[in-house]
């Protein structure tokens, strides 16, 4: 848990960031396996921290984008790993022992058992809508919030979540659609009572109870796994997750079709709703970072890429609230780590409008030379070894691609070598080739 020093209010954003970063890089609170692993941790974390601050580290840091690769590596399916936390722990630690990387990317966080109990409708996973041997899970987009529900979402969010969204997204919560509103205090205990006497609530309570036990069990093991990886000297370069205000609606609530309609039919409602979620997103990100004692906040981005919207739409709908969220985080000393899925070539000029060395941009299919040219002075960039190459390329091709990336992006510091996306089904030797490349070509 991060505790602010007493003079926090007087510190500049940079000072705040540095306090957080240094604390994280020192490995405070971690019980290391040995003095060597502690040294290893500090070396890796310092490398990453320097890159984030646009300083020159000993060599280019490398985040092997692990994804669910540890399952394959251990000869188990993703399904086995998801349903059996013990197996997951063994597989992930096996990976840590066998592969070098500057970070530990964390365990699986999708909770299959929990979603089984609650009958999640928004996800598919191995054994539940996907073949048993799938190596990923899938989000099922839909219009989970109706076009006319923006006002409800803003004016009575609890009610919206409970009586509208949950029944649509979880089978077990369906009956919440029939319970009376909680928006009035008078008679509330009676209404709760009536809700609890519905046999469907009793079923739900049983499911929740089972699910919460499964969740705690899973979290406990996941936490042990992370602690063990840290103890072996691999830092977690992630203190939490956040998303762009636009994506809250485009991904989770309205879906692609819905949000496009809204951009034309009720643009002001989108703006109003984004304003509403912005402070919550910010508060949540800060809380997560404090809890994890790590200033880095991963931000997977979706609907703002080159192909989804025009420049004008990006500058109208996507960027303004997103930027304010980024700046809000930066002011609290956090380091937002947006992951620009897809391509961001046309966005580069727009997104450069941020304080220096405040954000790390991870790119998927964006042209990295261009990114370095346009953003290189303002922020650290990261990426973009193609997943296709990791899955199908030879080690020579892999090393070659990494070398070119390093030559393009590393000069002057501010670059982290990584993938365009996660390497769930990569050839093992290609993961090693990445580390070899960075050792060979990435020394400053």
């Amino acid at each position: 848990m991060f505790r602010r020093p007493e003079n926090w209010a007087e510190l500049t954003p940079q000072q705040r960031r540095d306090i957080r970063l240094e604390r994280w890089a020192s490995g405070a609170g971690i019980k290391f396996d040995s003095p060597e692993t502690e040294k290893g941790y500090r070396a890796r974390a310092t490398r990453l921290a320097k890159a984030a601050r646009l300083e020159i580290p000993d060599r280019v840091p490398c985040m092997v984008p692990t994804g669910w690769f540890p399952a394959i590596n251990a000869g188990i399916t993703l399904k086995e790993a998801m349903y059996n936390p013990g197996k997951m722990k063994r597989a992930w630690l096996k990976f840590v022992d066998e592969y070098d990387s500057d970070t530990f990317d964390g365990t699986i966080f999708f909770q299959a058992a929990v979603n089984d109990f609650l009958e999640a409708k928004t996800m598919k996973w191995p054994g539940h809508g996907l073949p048993d041997n799938s190596h990923s899970y899938q989000y099922v987009e839909g219009e989970y919030m109706k076009a006319h529900e923006y006002d409800l979402f803003i004016k009575d969010p609890f009610d919206f979540q409970l009586r509208h969204l949950l029944p649509r997204t979880y089978g077990k919560f369906e009956f919440f659609a029939d319970i009376p509103s909680f928006s009035s205090y008078q008679g509330l205990p009676q209404r709760l009572m009536a809700m609890c006497s519905d046999p469907r609530f009793i079923k739900l309570a049983r499911a929740i109870s089972k699910a919460s036990r499964a969740m705690l069990e899973f979290q406990k093991v996941a936490n042990e796994t992370t602690q063990a990886a840290l103890a072996r000297g691999f830092p977690m370069f992630r203190g939490g997750l956040a998303v762009a205000p636009f994506d809250v609606f485009a991904d989770n609530l309205r879906g692609t079709k819905g949000i496009v309609m809204d951009m034309y039919r009720q643009p002001e409602k989108i703006h109003e709703a984004m304003e509403f979620v912005l402070p919550h997103l910010l508060r949540r990100a800060v809380a997560m970072s404090d809890m994890a004692d790590c200033p880095i906040i991963m931000m997977p981005l979706h609907k703002g890429d080159d192909t989804f919207m025009s420049d004008e739409q990006f500058e109208t709908f996507y960027w303004p609230t997103f930027r304010r969220l980024l700046v809000g985080m930066v002011e609290e000393g956090l380091i937002p780590f947006p992951v620009a899925e897809g391509a961001y070539n046309r966005r580069l000029e727009v997104i450069k409008d941020l304080p220096r060395a405040s954000v790390i941009w991870m790119f998927d299919q964006t042209d990295m030379a261009n990114a370095k040219k346009i953003l290189g002075d303002t922020c650290c960039i990261c990426g973009n070894v193609p997943v296709s190459l990791a899955y199908t390329g030879s080690t020579r091709e892999m090393k070659e691609y990494c070398r070119r990336l390093i030559e393009t992006c590393a000069p002057g510091g501010g670059y982290i070598l990584s993938g365009g996306s996660t390497f769930d089904m990569a050839k093992p030797e290609n993961l090693r080739a990445m580390m070899e490349a960075v050792e060979e070509y990435g020394r400053y």
Partner: protein, 457 residues
């Protein structure tokens, strides 16, 4: 502000006519009246009972529409007086749900003709009340003497002066996480509920992993058999009463004035007076917010119910609590908006003006003709008839003191005077100023007699 399931005397059936949206409010109301007159869920014991039921409902409908019925309809202030007539009291009925049945059945038979009748009202289950404690309500034997004839609300500053914004940000969340733990020790652990405001992931799981919170839900589930027993008992007696030909006047939602929502339940008298001077804009903002929420979540698309009449007890707007100017500024605009929303949905708002509304009469006369039914307690009824008699049906107001302690002749005299003042031209329902929980049967019968003797059109 609304307690939809508390005052539920009949099944709610979503059987609105097609094209509901396109109908005028009068057409919607006619559809609701029609359902009141021909209740699909009532099995009358005889065609005689059915005939009487229809005649009684017709009497009320005509009065509401400012027409002249065959005679002045009567809404007797029976309250829970059958309990006392039958040798029981509020507390015994809290614990013995069936006992109410026997007494009410006998009472009905002994009484004879009535225009409306209902089973025991507002008597909660004692077993449940003992477990699910409340700081805001005292009951006979639970904070009040065992022989107390009714429950008492304990006013307090349950919402703090600086919490209006928090409430408006997320009202349901505020109720669950702030008000519930503050007003009931049973719900104390709800303080630790996570916010549902923007829920990613499985927030309920985190909540239910907390043993205190789990215990609350477990207890609620454990109590559910008792709750079902209590509900069934209340439904059974009311179904029985209906089948014998006695309608209920109330059947819509129970609601109140937005001002009272804050003054009664949240801020208390002292708190609200401070707010009227120190932060009037906040209060207005919050009332508007509450109004919109109430209209959107409760009034709009209100289901078809046995009767469309919505009882609305009013408190802090009476003559003595606030000035005319304050009434015009704080109380009336949002209350009127609630009326209009109800009317638009074909419902019949029936404000119950507790205390005195004589000063207010001139201020409440801008509602659609025949849209609102005003039930008065201590208001000057002759003046009421003169001031709003052209636009609203009025109800009241035989003094509770006379109904409870007066002679039969005194009751009849009071009724006669009222009928002479208020009945001409229609639009009047004879009623009490409040319900008289320990009224002798003969005094209530005297009211019926007076209506038949003096109230025939």
């Amino acid at each position: 502000m609304t307690t939809r399931n508390l005052f539920d005397f009949g099944a709610q059936v979503p059987d609105k006519p097609a094209k509901w949206e396109e109908m005028t409010w009068q057409e919607k109301r006619e559809a609701r009246f029609d359902r009141w007159l021909n209740p699909p869920d009532v099995k009358f014991v005889s065609s005689e009972a059915e005939k009487l039921y229809k005649a009684r409902v017709t009497r009320f409908i005509k009065a509401i529409k400012l027409e002249e019925p065959d005679r002045v309809p009567v809404m007797l202030p029976t309250g829970n007086s059958p309990a006392y007539w039958g040798g029981a009291n509020f507390r015994t009925l809290m614990y013995d749900y069936k006992k109410g049945h026997e007494i009410w059945k006998k009472y009905m038979k002994a009484f004879g003709d009535m225009d409306a009748f209902n089973g025991p009202g507002f008597i909660p289950s004692g077993k449940i009340a003992e477990v699910i404690t409340s700081k805001t309500q005292k009951l006979p034997g639970l904070g009040l003497p065992e022989n107390a004839p009714m429950n008492q609300f304990v006013e307090g500053e349950y919402m703090k002066a600086d919490e209006y914004d928090l409430l408006m940000l997320d009202p349901s969340d505020y109720n669950m996480r702030v008000m519930m733990p503050r007003t009931s020790d049973f719900f104390k652990a709800f303080e630790r509920l996570p916010s549902l405001r923007i829920s990613y992931g499985n927030i309920w799981l985190t909540a239910m992993a907390d043993p205190g919170i789990r215990k609350i839900f477990q207890t609620l589930i454990d109590m559910s058999d008792e709750q079902v027993k209590w509900q069934m008992a209340s439904m059974e007696i009311n179904n029985y009463i209906r089948s014998q030909g006695y309608p209920s006047l109330f059947g819509g939602l129970m609601a109140g004035a937005p001002f009272d929502h804050f003054a009664d339940a949240l801020r208390g008298t002292r708190g609200i007076v401070m707010d009227m001077y120190r932060q009037p804009e906040k209060l207005h903002e919050a009332m508007d917010h509450q109004l919109k929420l109430m209209v959107e979540t409760t009034i709009k698309n209100f289901p078809m119910t046995q009767s469309p009449v919505c009882i609305m007890p009013l408190h802090k707007g009476d003559d003595t609590f606030m000035s005319d100017k304050q009434f015009a500024e704080f109380y009336w605009p949002t209350l009127r908006a609630v009326f209009l929303a109800m009317i638009d949905e074909g419902l019949v708002p029936m404000p119950f003006a507790e205390g005195r509304y004589t000063n207010r009469l001139k201020q409440i006369n801008d509602t659609p003709k025949s849209g609102v039914v005003w039930w008065f307690d201590q208001t000057d009824m002759a003046k009421a008839k003169k001031t709003i008699g052209d636009i609203c049906c009025i109800v009241g107001n035989v003094p509770t003191s006379i109904v409870m302690k007066g002679t039969v002749q005194q009751v009849k005299d009071a009724c006669r005077k009222l009928i002479e003042d208020c009945a001409p031209g229609g639009g009047y329902i004879l009623g009490g100023g409040a319900s008289a929980d320990t009224a002798p049967m003969e005094n209530l019968q005297a009211m019926m007699d007076a209506a038949k003797e003096y109230g025939v059109y």
